[in-house]
């Protein structure tokens, strides 16, 4: 299957922040969770993909071609939702429909937009200013889907929403992805959402991609080894990915739970969530030697 989106060695240098050699690939029919703490470089990466900022190095391919910000044909096949609604406060849903229909021309499916509007229970003639945050996000999502894009780029689209609204929105994304030609890049720091729907997880920290992997690999193969000081001293550094010291002892993130268990059968070994992995990378140390006390 070909990749709908591919980044190779993308760099962007702001004075106080660098996006460093970001690479990952998103195949068709998949949802990639793009995780990282605030300020890790998620939005900058999305801006690099869309050409809203100039990248200093690297390549971005969308639908197998480099994307130029003035390439209207390619952009007609992308839907973007930012972390808040960027529609003007004074517009109504009907006016948004009218405007978007003029921008997207034939690609705009007014009937589908209307169906989404009803499904999300968005009022027709009220101005957006009076909408709640959840309603604004639903409007942005409906607007991003109504031209039937192939690639959906979501930048913190579910952050700040209550669980009910998030669940509704995730359902819409799952429907979207049922078409094998469609893909979603879903930037978020709400890892539970990604655990529900993502196929791949790419984790970015300090502008660097720490890993980009199949979600099932992470959940079924990665593990946390909880060691006492004495146990930790015996663990070889080559067997662990990240080390983290806690009040209770030393914790290791291991990439292959089964083989670790065979080597150190008496160490307590737990499954990990994406959140655990994230915390390990952000707060732990990626040390070369084992953490002997």
């Amino acid at each position: 299957m070909s990749n709908l989106l591919e980044l190779r060695g993308v760099c962007k240098d702001y004075r106080d922040f660098q996006l460093n050699n970001v690479s990952f690939a998103l195949p068709g029919g998949a949802i990639m969770g793009f995780v990282g703490e605030n300020g890790a470089g998620k939005t900058t990466t999305l801006k690099c993909i869309l050409g809203l900022v100039r990248r200093d190095a690297g390549e971005v391919e969308v639908f197998g071609k480099p994307l130029n910000v003035d390439d209207v044909a390619a952009k007609a096949q992308i839907g973007v939702v930012f972390d808040e609604s960027y529609f003007h406060d004074n517009l109504t849903t009907v006016q948004v429909d009218h405007m978007m229909a003029s921008i997207f021309r034939d690609a705009w499916d007014a009937a589908y937009f209307e169906a989404l509007r009803k499904r999300f229970a968005l009022p027709k003639d009220k101005i957006i200013k009076s909408f709640s945050r959840g309603m604004k996000m639903k409007l942005s999502i409906a607007a991003a889907l109504a031209h039937h894009p192939k690639l959906l780029l979501l930048d913190e689209a579910t952050s700040g929403l209550d669980p009910i609204v998030r669940d509704e929105i995730l359902d819409v994304f799952l429907e979207f992805i049922s078409d094998e030609q469609h893909s979603i890049l879903f930037s978020s720091h709400i890892t539970s959402d990604l655990e529900k729907i993502a196929d791949y997880v790419t984790f970015i920290h300090n502008g660097k991609v720490m890993f980009s992997k199949n979600k099932d690999t992470l959940i079924y193969e990665y593990g946390i080894a909880r060691c006492t000081a004495a146990q930790a001293a015996k663990v070889a550094s080559s067997d662990v990915a990240v080390t983290r010291k806690t009040a209770m002892g030393t914790e290791f993130l291991v990439t292959d739970r089964d083989s670790f268990h065979r080597r150190y059968p008496d160490v307590v070994l737990d499954r990990v969530s994406i959140e655990d992995i994230m915390l390990f990378y952000v707060k732990g140390h990626k040390e070369d030697k084992s953490c002997a006390v």
């Binding site: 801006k47 007609a76 003007h88 921008i103």
Partner: protein, 210 residues
């Protein structure tokens, strides 16, 4: 392009309605005075030009440019829509100003003079010139930072004219013929500058990061 114009007109509908109301009230207050009508005409055209600046301010507040560039809209179209909006609202304002003259002319039974009409047309081109100077500045520095510049663009020519008339520098220097030629050449120059300004804005936006 059409979608972007719709957006501005929808968004500013309430604001423009308020402006019309203000103009109507001022029409009643000033219209009956001798020089009131010409003030009102100039005011109407100027205010309509300010609508463009307000729309830029709204766009900036909503982070609209960043959003709309993710849609099938090129940077040239984005900039072009603002210049077209400027042309449309300023032309609309000029038509309203002419309507005001006609109404006042009928009520006071003085009619509308050719001088009034030329005044409005001159005002229309002056506004285009100001937009041509302002829009690249707004794109370069953003509406917030450009506020001072808007003031300068409006005030400097006025100061210049006052200065020239006070010093009497040109009292004998300008012939009637020169002024007549200027009246025909100036609009052409303004149109050329307006188009050049569009290309300058496009190149500013092309270099800009969102």
């Amino acid at each position: 392009m059409r979608g972007l114009i719709y957006k501005d007109l929808y968004n500013l509908k309430k604001y423009m309605r308020q402006l019309l109301l203000i103009i109507a009230v001022m029409g009643v207050l000033f219209g009956m005075q001798d020089t009131g009508a010409s003030f009102l005409g100039v005011y109407t055209v100027m205010v309509s030009m300010m609508v463009v600046i307000s729309s830029m301010s709204y766009d900036e507040f909503a982070k609209w440019d960043k959003f709309v560039l993710t849609m099938p809209v090129s940077r040239k179209t984005l900039v072009g829509s603002k210049y077209l909006l400027g042309l449309l609202v300023t032309a609309g304002g000029s038509l309203i100003a002419i309507a005001i003259y006609l109404v006042i002319g009928i009520i006071t039974r003085k009619g509308m003079t050719l001088e009034d009409l030329v005044g409005i047309i001159g005002c229309f081109f002056a506004c285009l010139l100001m937009l041509g100077v302002l829009l690249p500045l707004l794109y370069k520095f953003g509406v917030e930072k450009a506020r001072m510049m808007i003031l300068c663009v409006a005030l400097l020519p006025t100061l210049g004219v006052i200065l020239v008339s006070k010093t009497g520098l040109l009292d004998n220097g300008i012939s009637e013929e020169f002024l007549q030629t200027l009246a025909f050449v100036a609009p052409v120059i303004v149109v050329v500058l307006f188009i050049a300004s569009f290309f300058l804005s496009v190149s500013i936006v092309t270099k800009k990061e969102f």
